[in-house]
């Protein structure tokens, strides 16, 4: 089985993390340092491939949301959202406002569940030097707080989707069934308490200890003129990128780097290709002016300076978004009136469309081509973690440039922390990555 071990050689050292922990899915890390220089560095993925894009071919459009959800047990809603919007675009469906809002509420549930899991159970222990969220008595109250948030996220998913892992309610045109106003309103007292609590948590996250790791890299996320992005918008970056979803998928290119054997994705510009980062830090950097003033104030009071230029501060951005997801859930429920019909009627047809939504870990790109019968002719799925791998390695590379002489144990621990700060979901990413074992 895969357990951690180090190999020592005279002039060179190979540092291996055979099986990363507290991440979703199976991956490792190999670093080789020769005469104080980084000879090899790569995030090694051994999660087995599942060939989703292959077996989706020939399936009816109505199967797609149930199938793609199964790519990831942590963010199934993200897969359903990118799929459903892409297919609705092909069919020319415009959903009504209550449906748009309910889908956003469903996404809030997933952001809460996924962010709380990562902040408190997966990433949090790193800042306390412990192996898990239940490894120390002092951490237990923090873990409990996380579980309370997480439970509430799952509750939203349960009500809207039937269950939190692989919800069953999403269909083309809307939902199979929409909840009554009272059912949702019953969540309000709990949500308001959680929102108040989560505001304090932004300060807690901002007060954690971070390595100095400021750099001018490219942060990519959706942006939308009216809202903090989830299901709609165009793709933008801090380096002037601003394009439609269709254009963006064309400008993403896979490339190779000398220190790694894994294919990376980057943005094509003239003759060069450069890595970029997606996820909460990117979203916050590009969209913080769309946050409610109450959250903006807490950000200011907590001493968080925006944009965040330290990629390892994902936990801060995640805490801000956790509070925002509670805020947004409350807003949506307050303004909700059950629609007369849970879905709009439509006619299926052939066509092709790209859609991108903001999964908890960053932009999730889907492209589908359907035939006249509404069956999948071809599709492309690019998960956020696949987009982040190249950047993750570049991040570790930067760290090693100043720390190559440090002990194996230190390098190993710190590199693992860097990887974890991206909240990688390797189960998702695997079907577009090369596999090595």
């Amino acid at each position: 089985m895969h357990t951690g071990r180090c190999e020592l050689k005279a002039a060179s050292k190979i540092i291996k993390v055979d099986y990363l922990s507290r991440v979703e899915g199976e991956g490792g890390l190999v670093i080789e340092i020769k005469d104080g220089k980084i000879a090899r560095l790569h995030v090694n993925i051994f999660e087995a491939p599942r060939f989703f894009e292959s077996f989706l071919r020939g399936r009816p459009y109505s199967d797609v949301m149930d199938f793609t959800a199964r790519i990831c047990g942590i963010c199934p809603v993200a897969y359903q959202m990118s799929s459903v919007h892409a297919i609705e675009k092909i069919f020319g469906i415009e959903v009504e406002k209550p449906i748009h809002e309910l889908r956003r509420l469903l996404y809030c549930g997933e952001w809460i569940e996924s962010h709380a899991l990562h902040i408190y159970l997966l990433n949090g222990p790193d800042f306390f030097g412990i192996e898990s969220a239940w490894a120390s008595r002092e951490y237990l109250p923090i873990a409990k707080k996380g579980l309370t948030f997480k439970r509430l996220g799952n509750k939203i998913l349960d009500i809207l989707g039937g269950r939190s892992v692989h919800p069953v309610s999403i269909r083309i045109g809307g939902f199979y069934k929409t909840p009554g106003k009272k059912v949702l309103a019953a969540l309000l007292p709990e949500l308001k308490r959680a929102y108040e609590e989560s505001l304090k948590e932004i300060k807690w996250a901002a007060g954690l200890n971070f390595n100095d790791n400021s750099w001018n890299t490219e942060y990519v996320s959706l942006t939308h003129q009216d809202e903090y992005p989830m299901n709609h918008g165009s793709v933008a970056s801090n380096k002037g990128l601003n394009m439609s979803m269709e254009k963006f998928i064309e400008s993403v290119q896979e490339y190779q780097v000398e220190y790694s054997t894994a294919l990376h994705s980057g943005i094509k510009r003239d003759s060069s290709v450069s890595p970029y980062i997606v996820g909460p830090v990117s979203r916050l950097n590009l969209n913080h002016d769309r946050l409610p003033s109450e959250i903006k104030n807490v950000i200011r009071e907590s001493g968080i300076s925006l944009p965040i230029t330290n990629t390892q501060m994902g936990i801060i951005a995640r805490s801000v978004e956790l509070a925002y997801a509670f805020y947004e859930a409350i807003r949506i429920i307050n303004g909700y009136d059950e629609p007369d019909k849970p879905f709009v009627d439509f006619e299926k047809g052939a066509g092709e469309a790209v859609w991108i939504t903001e999964a908890p870990r960053g932009i999730l790109i889907h492209r589908y081509e359907l035939d006249d019968a509404g069956h999948v002719k071809s599709c492309t799925i690019i998960p956020p973690t696949s987009q982040n791998f190249g950047h993750m390695e570049a991040d570790i590379y930067r760290f090693l440039q100043n720390n190559a002489d440090k002990s194996e144990d230190f390098i190993k621990k710190e590199s693992e922390k860097i990887i974890r700060s991206y909240d990688p979901c390797i189960s998702c990413s695997v079907h577009v990555m090369k596999i090595e074992k």
Binding site: M1, R22, P49, S54, P60, D66, L122, T148, K150
Partner: protein
């Protein structure tokens, strides 16, 4: 009393069933008092060592190295239970069992030769002895806590083996198959989800796999009378539990 040592292992899967353990927000701290979670990569850094009183296995076997690893897990475990459709039935990725792997690889990866995968995805029980199976895509968390507690007191978990139809009747949900004439897999599918899809007004799509002695052929004939093609019928079975439905269907027709 010494707490039983538990290991949580992952093979080819989406992580959703292991997540069910962390989704037991109300029970997880109690579970940690009753059990020693000695290996669980998704949640702790603890390295793999020693023997386990019970191993909880997620995911299907779809690579050569997994074939070796599952034997190692079995050798370390006094009891082994599988959780979810991947581990009990090969999962959605078992759809490759009825296709050609080389065409699959070519379609997803730019350099298909780099990909080492078996041409099949199979349940854990095809490789080692399994003491107990928890079905579902994903599993139900109440069923998981029932299984853990039953293990502790040495009884058989009280998990239904009957069809989803029983659950529907108990919830007073009008029959989607009979009243709406929509192809519902309820009659041949294990109960356990709490009649989720039908309570949302959609037909069951088989997350919990075939119930004991399911008469699949008969339901398929019924679907054909509703106007479904042969191919359409197979495509209903060919989802997360395709391996199990196909197997029961073949065995039933003998």
């Amino acid at each position: 009393m010494k707490r039983p040592r538990i290991g949580v292992f992952k093979f080819t899967s989406c992580d959703g069933c292991q997540l069910t353990i962390l989704n037991m927000e109300d029970e997880i701290l109690d579970i940690l008092e009753l059990f020693d979670i000695a290996y669980f990569r998704e949640a702790t850094d603890k390295p793999l060592r020693g023997q386990f009183d019970m191993s909880i296995v997620e995911g299907s076997i779809s690579t050569n190295w997994q074939k070796e690893d599952i034997v190692d897990v079995r050798e370390r475990s006094r009891h082994l239970i599988t959780i979810g459709a991947c581990a009990t039935s090969g999962g959605l990725q078992a759809l490759r069992n009825w296709a050609s792997l080389s065409s699959y690889k070519k379609y997803v990866y730019p350099s298909p030769d780099m990909i080492t995968a078996l041409s099949t995805s199979t349940p854990i029980s095809d490789h080692v002895y399994v003491d107990y199976e928890l079905w579902g895509c994903p599993i139900n968390k109440d069923a998981l806590s029932e299984t853990l507690l039953s293990f502790l007191i040495g009884k058989k978990p009280g998990i239904p083996r009957y069809s989803l139809c029983m659950e529907c009747k108990r919830h007073g949900i009008p029959c989607i198959l009979v009243s709406n004439e929509e192809p519902c897999l309820g009659p041949i599918t294990k109960a356990g989800c709490g009649a989720l899809c039908t309570s949302f007004g959609r037909p069951c799509y088989g997350c919990f796999g075939p119930k004991d002695d399911a008469n699949i052929e008969s339901l398929m004939r019924y679907f054909q009378n509703l106007g479904l093609t042969q191919k359409g019928c197979i495509s209903l079975l060919d989802k997360m539990n395709s391996y199990a439905y196909r197997k029961v269907r073949i065995e039933g027709s003998k």
